[in-house]
Symmetry: C3
Subunit: 411 residues, 3 copies
């Protein structure tokens, strides 16, 4: 009991400290960007194509928020025992990580004259960062206490923002749906932390906990799946730079989701002794199908490509759960509470490879006017398609390296 009171007070104290720190930093550095408001209106008026900031629209912003909170909150909630409790912690993590990410990303991107001028776009970037934190959280859930989770969020936001800055701004990699910077980074960061924190005696208890899944999680899984279906395509296309490229990203993601769901049906009926797949599997398939479209979403020019990619992602994700998770668990001593490796890690890598392949094949013929929009540097002639593909490929090991080192440090 004593221990309990002490841990509550420690959590409470840490929250006070961090919140005061945030308020102070905001007071000193953050101001609203004076143009943020007017740019939103001018968007309606002249729809300038090449300006990322003005390409931002309010409804999309809300969709991303919805993703972060609902999608991942529910994902995390699917373990029966951690159900409502884990949602509460998720919301705390989100509350803190959003403020922190606005600050960190503000220092990297929007820092002028000693002030960060923020607008709605910086809020969207912060949401992406928060998503990566939540994915990592999924890997260690149930084995760390809230204080540790807050510290994890503190460090991961910094590293995630740094990784994103290097990839997107310095290297010019195209990763609009964040296959790499969110899914892959979040998954491997979480897995490394999980590896470091591995405690054999905790292990057994956890596996028992996992059994007592009641009926509750199914409700969450149903609602969660439906929302992923509806809002994920917007998430994937939230930062596609150009309004023109968006519809394809949305449609590609839908097709990928559809194919991934069918793949899950096929495989789950063969692999497991059940007459219908469980709802949670459908949810995972949906996530995997969406993660694989992260980078390639705006590049794919034919719908059947999305169908095939989604189909493969669905198959791989389920095979991973069946055969790879036990290996991970017993050989490498990495526990993966919510299966983030199969749902985010593998599909993220697959998506990055697919994006690289598509970049390699990018020619003016296939893309027409769109080439300029999807790969501006290639279209301007300052880079060849092969160079761009090489950079895209390089981004993958770089992200893995960042995630692994970061995870080790944090652990």
């Amino acid at each position: 009991l004593e221990h309990n009171v002490a841990s509550r007070l420690r959590l409470s104290g840490l929250c006070v400290l961090l919140q005061i720190l945030n308020i102070l930093l905001f007071a000193v550095f953050v101001r609203y960007s004076p143009e943020s408001s007017s740019s939103l209106c001018s968007l309606q008026l002249n729809c300038s194509r090449r300006n990322q900031d003005s390409g931002f629209q309010h409804p999309r912003f809300r969709d991303v928020h919805l993703q972060v909170l609902l999608g991942f909150g529910l994902l995390v909630a699917f373990l029966g025992r951690y159900g409502p409790g884990s949602v509460v912690i998720s919301i705390l993590i989100v509350s803190f990580a959003i403020q922190w990410a606005v600050l960190i990303q503000g220092f990297l991107y929007f820092f002028h004259n000693g002030k960060i001028y923020m607008g709605a776009p910086s809020m969207v970037s912060a949401d992406f960062c928060t998503a990566a934190v939540l994915i990592s959280t999924g890997a260690v859930l149930g084995r760390v206490n809230p204080v540790q989770m807050l510290l994890l969020a503190l460090l991961e936001v910094i590293l995630c923002a740094l990784n994103e800055y290097i990839l997107l701004s310095l290297m010019g990699v195209s990763d609009s749906g964040r296959s790499l910077t969110v899914h892959t980074f979040g998954a491997y960061f979480g897995l490394m932390v999980s590896r470091i924190l591995h405690q054999p005696h905790m292990d057994k208890r956890r596996r028992e906990d996992q059994q007592d899944t009641g009926h509750q999680p199914d409700v969450f899984a149903v609602v969660g799946t439906i929302y992923l279906w509806i809002f994920w395509p917007s998430f994937t296309s939230a930062t596609t730079v150009h309004d023109n490229a968006e519809p394809w990203a949305v449609l590609n993601t839908y097709f990928s989701l559809v194919a991934s769901t069918v793949a899950t049906f096929i495989l789950s009926l063969v692999l497991y002794e059940e007459s219908t797949p469980r709802m949670v599997q459908i949810q995972d398939a949906t996530l995997a199908g969406a993660a694989v479209m992260g980078m390639a979403g705006e590049m794919l020019v034919t719908p059947f490509g999305a169908l095939i990619a989604g189909f493969l992602a669905g198959l791989i994700s389920l095979l991973g759960f069946r055969f790879f998770t036990p290996v991970l668990h017993f050989r490498l001593k990495i526990q993966d509470t919510c299966g983030v490796h199969n749902v985010h890690g593998i599909p993220g890598i697959l998506g990055a490879l697919l994006g690289t392949l598509l970049t390699l094949l990018a020619t003016a013929d296939a893309y027409g006017d769109r080439l300029e929009l999807v790969f501006p540097l290639v279209a301007q002639g300052s880079r060849t398609a092969v160079d761009q593909a090489f950079l895209q490929l390089c981004a993958l090991p770089l992200t893995l390296l960042f995630a692994t080192l970061g995870g080790c440090l944090t652990g």
Copy 2:
């Protein structure tokens, strides 16, 4: 047990087959329409009024998707026993039907030079088709296995697309909210299939199942009702051709929902021995109130018309449940698991009749500028209002005929 394994493998095999078929057909025929993306932007710029494709907006697209998945998925879920399981099957049906409907409708509408050039609008049409399939599914739920459901979807998508093509494109019928092509068609198709599949010995078991509704369904019904309220108006107005006509369709649908809900309260307190109506009844009333506004939504010029129509729809739907469902069940040997006849069938017909009446009364005086938008052919003088009304009326028996024959065949 053996039987169980065999049926699982059969379902799995069918899924593989259909998915591969879909991928192949997509690979051969379907390409993204090159204009789809640019038209979306030009919409913001010059808002051209008469072009259906450019009248499409992303948020509406998502709303329709949400409808299809959530609305009907939850509708189907309200039978306790089939709860989570039926949602899983619904999602499989949706996954397959969307791909299939894109293909079939593509062949009818968007087929040029051996390729289907698809964009976001064809996705919306596919969603409408999927909605009809889900309504039919509601009528036969619990009495057919997933393999039969997939075959039902396979056939119904073809017939539904054909019916829609004849009504909307060839006859020029105005049915923006799909009273006829989705609600009426789906309901009667499902009922006919249910009639053909009637097996007396199954009957008893089902009625027992129906009893064990726990607390769970109520949660679904609450969430489902709220979402229907929020998103149905967008569904009804998703394909209103002209941006100008939309707000009336939305407002009319809201008023209809409101009146229908009040009607349900009034009648359920009199008919049933309960102090408050059950949540599921409210949900049905909401659906009925929305279905009746399908065709007439954009035609009504006064709010009180919508109030009266919704009020009648609510009354009729509830009276149907009380007095007509038993007749249907024992005399005509049609089982209607989710009451689709009362919720979709009757209100759909009522909506079509109302639409006909309104078309008959359509004069340049009442509509002003809007006449040109709602009834373009009448405004251009190539048709009189009476002709248009006659065509609208003809569309009703035609749809019924299509649905009945199709249901027989499929059964």
Copy 3:
């Protein structure tokens, strides 16, 4: 039993009466505004800044609806016993109150030549009014029967519309997020009704009921909280007159939510003997954090202001639950079923005071071009900032007076 039948028939009869009354009044008075449709389109085209009607956009309209139904419906639902039943009653109240509010507000605002010309904006105003009714309902829930609730809605809509008309139109108070006219008015109206209806013997029974909260409410609370997070910012900014001012209102509300959530964590860990706060507390904190931003949302020029305000609102709301509700209950004999005083009343007043303070500080320097948008009268020179602040301050006791007197009368 006899009593039960009689009360059901009375409710049913009242519904019939009110609905017929509504239909008749709509038939006589309400017509769609002919410009409503075209103004929506012209918005896209020339984005005129100073016209409130044309500043209306469809997605926002839906968000407000969602708020009203989901947010408050779920808020009300959190008492286990009244769970599904109270949602049903809420929907009846909403159905009636929306029609009634359209009428009453129509007479005040849109009455020309003996007709009310309504469009989408009048629907939004009606939704705000309905929200106030639902807040009041939360205070008396479980102690009044549905017939009394309908009568309460009947009277409150009239008073709320009158209050809003005086404040916003006659006095020119700026209250875009409705801190005063919705939150404060609704809370104190409900509390006064609750005071008048106080019956000592009912008291004990209620407290027992409150105990048997099962697992169910948690699901509702989770879903409710997530939705409040997502859609409340849109609610707050739904009627910000000028498109330009919106993004700040949205961002301020987000920051306020975030800070309020963290504050709840901090305090609930100290005050209560639990390792994590309960979901319902998080939900209340979210509401409080949003309510405080109602008036000040579009005025705040720095993000850290929103962080501090939200933090304070979260602290005060929780302290109120712990220390003030018992005082209210035993000393003042006011029962507050859902804690609306802490969640809506106090933060509403706080928000109004903050708004006054900010108005006082409003100078052309800090606001720049925005001054004209947020305080048009000040910018035009017809009022000084101090006058405006004085009026904002006067609006607070006026609203309290209206609410208290109205509550007494209704009781």
